[in-house]
């Protein structure tokens, strides 16, 4: 909640004429999934900031996302510090390098 309030103070909040916002304070996992799918298909959103704790709730969705825009950035939350082991970008790098090492070992 504090993360959303902070970024709204920085001026990134947008409310359209239908009162649809470009931010969400988490409620249920279903709502998070639906909002993630909505934000990643909207044309007026370039970057999606998501708390890593929330991203872990929908990890399969976040990891399967592979478009460059909107870019997904996992950020720490107040109660859950950043864990590089769960970051989707670093997970892909780790997978890439482990695949490379397996492939090079087979040569």
């Amino acid at each position: 909640m504090d993360t959303v309030v902070g970024f709204l103070m920085a001026g990134v909040g947008n409310v359209d004429l239908r009162r649809k916002t470009n931010y969400l304070i988490v409620d249920s996992i279903k709502q998070i999934e639906d909002t993630f799918k909505e934000f990643t298909t909207r044309e007026d959103i370039a970057v999606v900031l998501i708390s890593q704790y929330v991203a872990n709730m929908i990890r399969f969705l976040v990891d399967s996302y592979n478009k460059p825009v909107p870019a997904i950035l996992e950020i720490p939350s107040k109660d859950h510090p950043y864990d590089p082991a769960h970051d989707s970008v670093l997970s892909r790098v780790k997978y890439l390098f482990s695949a490379e090492s397996v492939a090079s070992g087979r040569r």
Partner: protein, 181 residues
């Protein structure tokens, strides 16, 4: 008669393809290093912002710093990102992001505090570690221009904080700056 066309090798025994691959790997590692550095910086700045927000809530009261007060009326974002593609290259896969801070509808021509950050910069040329920073001295006219630019920025910042009341704690302003950074 069989003619064997060997792949041309450089003096150190590497082929052009291997050299290119090594350069790409090095560039990739540099990008990952930059990513981790930025994540660390982001975590640190966010921690400062949360602490300042908590201090503001302590001094102003929980009822004055609350999500209930968020502005739900229709309004555009004052800070936005402009995304462009490389010119002449459709579907190049390398979008460019330009941050436009506090650019409201009333002053669209003054894009304040622009920071360009493209995916090209996530895959930069090989970084030269240990490079020196150059500082430019501002002239007096530049200082005056920056002061003139700062006034609309301050107005936009105050407008953003207005949902918490007319008089807000300095800690709340500090939190705003932290989240802005």
């Amino acid at each position: 008669m069989v003619v064997d066309h060997e792949t041309p090798r450089l003096e150190n025994g590497q082929t052009d393809k291997e050299v290119e691959e090594n350069a790409n790997v090095l560039q990739f590692m540099d990008s990952m290093d930059a990513y981790l550095t930025l994540i660390h910086s982001l975590s640190s700045t966010l921690r400062r912002g949360w602490l300042e927000l908590a201090s503001a809530r302590h001094s102003m009261g929980a009822s004055r710093v609350n999500t209930v007060l968020l502005d739900h009326t229709s309004h555009p974002a004052a800070t936005s990102l402009l995304v462009t593609q490389d010119e002449g290259k459709v579907d190049s896969g390398k979008p460019h992001f330009t941050l436009c801070k506090w650019a409201s509808s009333s002053n669209e021509n003054s894009l304040l505090g622009e920071k360009q950050s493209s995916q090209d910069k996530l895959h930069p040329q090989l970084r030269h570690r240990g490079s020196t920073e150059l500082y430019e001295e501002k002239t007096s006219s530049e200082n005056k221009a920056s002061r003139e630019v700062d006034d609309p920025v301050q107005k936009e910042r105050s407008k953003s904080l207005s949902m918490f009341g007319t008089l807000v704690s300095p800690k709340l302003r500090a939190a705003q700056l932290s989240f802005e950074h």
